[in-house]
């Protein structure tokens, strides 16, 4: 009988050892490739941001009322931005064309990424951020006066820096809050009329849609108004 008890105890001990090994296998299985998966997704976001920024800036636009394909007077969008800025250090005349181009280029990933696209001027001028466009999805919708979570997100677009008091720190805090998955930056020189120039940056930041409402402090600081 003692021999039988010893055999059962050995078997149970073996079972415990196996359970520990199985736990390690489960942990390995759940973790394996996680970092690589996150890296490839971030790499895709980053590649997309770089491609999108180039595509937006170097696409053609028509300088007259005809479409791009019919017009005999076309130019790069970046030329239009520089020209607009040169007159009054702001992007206003060309704002709609630029916004349309951004929306078109970002359209294929509209369900995967929210984004912001802005121009930052380094020197102190009336508009430190002459153009600041943000697109995000909201998952909470109002239904009969009650706010409910919805699987179908609602895309909202904004022009920010409405108060003109936006700072680099506000943008950095917002980017940290949403967790950027891709970022592209391009330096640019804006010529001025009649002479001189301003150095600036054009930036595109992508992130996986994050559910927050318009009362979020980091979002309020961006000073966004519906586009």
């Amino acid at each position: 009988m003692i021999k039988g008890q010893a055999a059962v105890t050995d078997a149970l001990l073996f079972l415990v050892i196996v359970m520990i090994l199985v736990s390690f296998l489960f942990i390995f299985t759940s973790q394996y490739g996680r970092t690589v998966g996150e890296y490839t997704y971030a790499k895709y976001g980053s590649d997309y941001a770089v491609s999108a920024l180039k595509t937006v800036l170097y696409s053609s636009f028509s300088r007259n009322d005809f479409s791009v394909s019919d017009s005999n007077e076309v130019d790069y969008i970046i030329a239009g931005i520089k020209e607009d800025y040169a007159y009054n250090q702001n992007i206003d005349y060309f704002r709609d064309d630029l916004t349309g181009a951004i929306k078109d280029v970002m359209n294929p990933v509209r369900s995967s990424f929210d984004y912001l696209f802005f121009i930052r001027i380094d020197s102190t001028v009336p508009f430190n951020f002459p153009y600041f466009f943000l697109s995000r999805k909201e998952f909470v919708v109002e239904h009969n006066g009650v706010f409910v979570s919805s699987v179908d997100s609602v895309e909202k677009t904004y022009f920010c820096n409405s108060s003109g008091s936006l700072t680099n720190a506000d943008i950095d805090n917002f980017v940290i809050f949403v967790g950027a998955k891709g970022q592209a930056v391009s330096s640019i020189t804006f010529p001025l009329i009649p002479n001189g120039s301003h150095e600036g940056l054009i930036e595109l930041v992508l992130w996986t849609p994050k559910d927050f409402d318009e009362e979020e402090e980091v979002f309020i600081k961006l000073g966004c108004v519906p586009a």
């Binding site: 009988m1 021999k3 039988g4 055999a7 059962v8 050995d10 078997a11 149970l12 073996f14 079972l15 050892i17 196996v18 359970m19 090994l21 199985v22 296998l25 489960f26 390995f28 299985t29 394996y32 490739g33 690589v36 998966g37 490839t40 790499k43 895709y44 590649d47 997309y48 770089v50 491609s51 999108a52 180039k54 595509t55 937006v56 170097y58 696409s59 053609s60 791009v68 394909s69 076309v74 790069y76 181009a101 078109d104 280029v105 359209n107 294929p108 990933v109």
Partner: protein, 173 residues
């Protein structure tokens, strides 16, 4: 008779250890099941990584500087690729067109400016390493793995820079 007198309850060398065999078998079954599952997951994810990495390589080569100036340039980038597995199909598609991975050949942009006499297939901004295209049947098969990515690029067409999208689809059968 004396042999059995001092061994009450003894039912044989295996019979005596019978209760211990139950946790032993249980442990072995759990271990080998988990091991099998782990190996399967490892293999599946490795295939996913290979597909992901291939798509990154293909897209990087075809995008180049992000500005495609001609079909010739696109084909040169395509020919520089040396990928046998996974199978892939990549090409340029109009920006506003909804991509359907099963009819990509009909969605790829055709180069109408090409002066050389080319076949219908050669006129397309298309790059692939497979004679067969991806079908719904292949996609639904048990071991199939598909990765699809889209990137915006600029295509020079009639001296205009048109935004289009580069679609890359890779699959393993």
């Amino acid at each position: 008779m004396h042999f059995f007198l001092n061994k009450k309850g003894y039912i044989g060398p295996i019979g005596d250890d019978l209760p211990s065999l139950i946790p032993l078998m249980f442990a072995l079954i759990i271990f080998f099941s988990s091991f099998y599952m782990t190996v399967n997951t490892y293999n599946d994810r490795t295939v996913d990584f290979e597909n992901d990495i291939s798509v990154v390589q293909i897209s990087a080569s075809l995008r180049g500087t992000g500005f495609v100036s001609s079909l010739q340039e696109f084909n040169n980038s395509c020919n520089a690729l040396n990928i046998r597995q996974p199978f892939f199909s990549a090409g340029l598609v109009e920006l506003d067109e909804e991509v359907d991975v099963f009819v990509l050949d009909s969605q790829y942009i055709r180069d109408e400016d090409e002066e050389e006499l080319l076949s219908d297939e050669e006129e397309l901004f298309k790059c692939t390493n497979s004679d067969e295209s991806l079908t719904l049947e292949k996609a639904l098969s048990l071991n199939s793995k598909i990765v699809a990515r889209v990137y915006p690029v600029v295509l020079e067409k009639n001296s205009r820079a048109i935004p289009v999208k580069l679609v890359v689809v890779a699959w393993k059968e």
